[in-house]
Amino acid sequence: MLDGLARRGFRCVGPQLRDGTIVYDDLTTIAQLPVGISDDQAPGTYVARKVGSPRCFAWANGPQALKPFLFAPQEPLWRAERRDGHIAFTLATTPGKPLACIGVRACDLAALALQDAHFLQLDDPYYAARRENLFIVAVDCTHPAPTCFCASTGDGPATQPGCEHGYDIALNELDAGYVARSGSTRGAELLAELELAAANASQIEQAQREVRRAAEQQTRALPGRNLRDALFANLDHARWQDVAQRCLSCGNCTLVCPTCFCHRQDEQPTLDGGASEHVRTWDSCFTEGHSHLHGHTVRPDTRLRYRQWLTHKLGSWHDQYGRSGCVGCGRCITWCPVGIDITEKATQICGSDHDE
């Protein structure tokens, strides 16, 4: 499959163990996959460990999602050059080689659809250029972490085919091999080239059973799929202050979140002053600068910043894109240095004000 993708001109990225976590990086051989590696996750904790399994995908998502491959953490938007007092502007070019991503989970596919809704609706040319030819090989999740809650948001653990946002190929990993299915014409073409043996009924049954079990294993859940009115009815809830006393306002949750889209724009002039690049960089609503207005800051303290994040993610996202901005990946829980749990906070703050 990797050869087939490379022949089609794709740059392949896939999961591998790096710096103690499973991240996506350039993948040229399957030997790079994290075979026999799993992970222990809990609020504020992530440990990758060897489990001796023959599987390559026996883990729950690490910190990184698809997001950085499409919405770049930092990239130039345009460049200004000054000569003889005149300024000339040129658009920055976006990288040419299309990307194929191997091992994408259902939660990240759902997040991709949300990022698409934001960036493509507004014709962002930088995002659109990378998104256009993206090839996705999904792998159904069989090892949810204790921090995962995709079953409660309806985004996983099984991947759903879809014309725009779905996968090209989806795999179910078994101890001896994979059950593969295609979700697009080009996915079907690639699978046909591989001349695979048809999966038998017991292999398919085993694959489905493992995914069902992955849903049943999840212990965390949001208290409802639409918490918009419940959150905005509770803006003065005492729990906002409680969480602010623990929250470091570090912004980790927004950086690992696969749907957060905020970014700032800065200027990077060259040393000789002859040119200047206008660069966008991921930003976070937990920074002071995010809500800075001349003369005052709309959200000067942590209580207001955490409240902005949660009321946007689970509340006003519904107004913007017709659903919650949370896909249940649990990254914000694992990667919060003090282990703040979004499902717990939403449950406490919404109280009984939400629809079951």
Partner: protein, 277 residues
């Protein structure tokens, strides 16, 4: 319409000092084609780019039918605006825009216009006042109410005097701290509403200023029979992209740069003046 991500070069035609810290840059797009096609509505804004320093959102105050130049009234306050204040005629900068939704000026023809502003200058409503003044016969009574904290914050006194001299225009000024030489009302803007003798069913209100003032102003107007749908507010937030992508300007589900900056009162009533939004 310009490409909304890439600035175009503009030239400073004139720089007008309005007060110690407020100035107007009269700009002209250097590309003929671009200048001919550029259209905006009062209340919309441009991202004004100072070479090597950055961009700032500034509302356009010149008349939309003036094809020669675009006026931007700016208060020198931060890195970009202080730098912009150093520019002189002939200097070049960048413009992206226009962005957002402006004031409802076509559908309000024939109605009385009540303009309420607080704070310094308040450029977004100056664009409306200029527009209505130039088309006086198309609108009913024009009432301009301006409130400031201190009397010495009032700029454009001569302009208010001129507006007041026009037919069917009333100007009411209020300062919380008036001082001995302040000839107008000392107190809050809401206290002069009764002097405006509003006819609620034929009045459209356009408001701009601190949110506390706007919220109090709306309440006072509703108590006088103005309908919430007849009240338009220009909101201000941190703006960087101008197209609803970067996320800084959100108020609840609204992207102020794209869905606003002009909103009807019912659109923003849930969160206006609420701390943290």
């Amino acid at each position: 319409m310009m490409n909304n991500q890439l600035p175009f070069q503009a030239e400073v035609v004139e720089r007008i000092q309005e007060s110690a810290s407020i100035f107007t840059l009269r700009l002209r797009l250097t590309d003929d084609e671009m200048r001919r096609h550029y259209r905006f509505a009062p209340g919309q804004f441009n991202m004004v780019y100072l070479y090597g320093v950055g961009e700032v959102a500034i509302s356009i105050v010149s008349d939309p039918q003036n094809d020669d130049y675009l006026d931007h009234t700016i208060r020198a306050l931060g890195r970009v605006t202080n730098g912009l204040s150093q520019l002189r005629a002939g200097d070049r900068l960048g413009l992206r825009g226009p962005f957002g939704r402006g004031w409802p000026l076509a559908e309000t023809e024939g109605r009385d216009m009540l303009i309420v502003t607080g704070g310094l200058g308040c450029a977004p409503v100056v664009a409306v006042i200029n527009y209505v003044v130039l088309r006086r016969e198309r609108y009913g009574k024009l009432t301009i109410i301006q409130g400031v904290k201190h009397a010495d914050e009032l700029i454009w006194r001569e302009r208010y005097r001129y507006w007041e001299s026009l037919p069917n225009v009333q100007v009411l000024l209020a300062a919380e701290h008036g001082g001995t030489l302040w000839p107008f009302h000392t107190g809050l803007v809401t206290e002069v509403f009764d002097d405006a003798h509003l006819v609620p069913e034929k009045t459209t209100v356009m408001m701009c200023g601190p949110e506390g003032m706007m919220r109090a102003g709306c309440r006072a107007l509703f108590a006088r029979g103005i309908k919430p749908e007849a009240v338009y507010l220009s909101m201000e937030r941190n703006m960087q992209c101008g197209v609803g992508l970067c996320g800084h300007c959100q108020i609840g589900g609204h992207f102020v740069c794209r869905n606003g900056p002009v909103f009807t009162y019912p659109q923003v009533s849930e969160l206006i003046g609420v701390e943290g939004f």
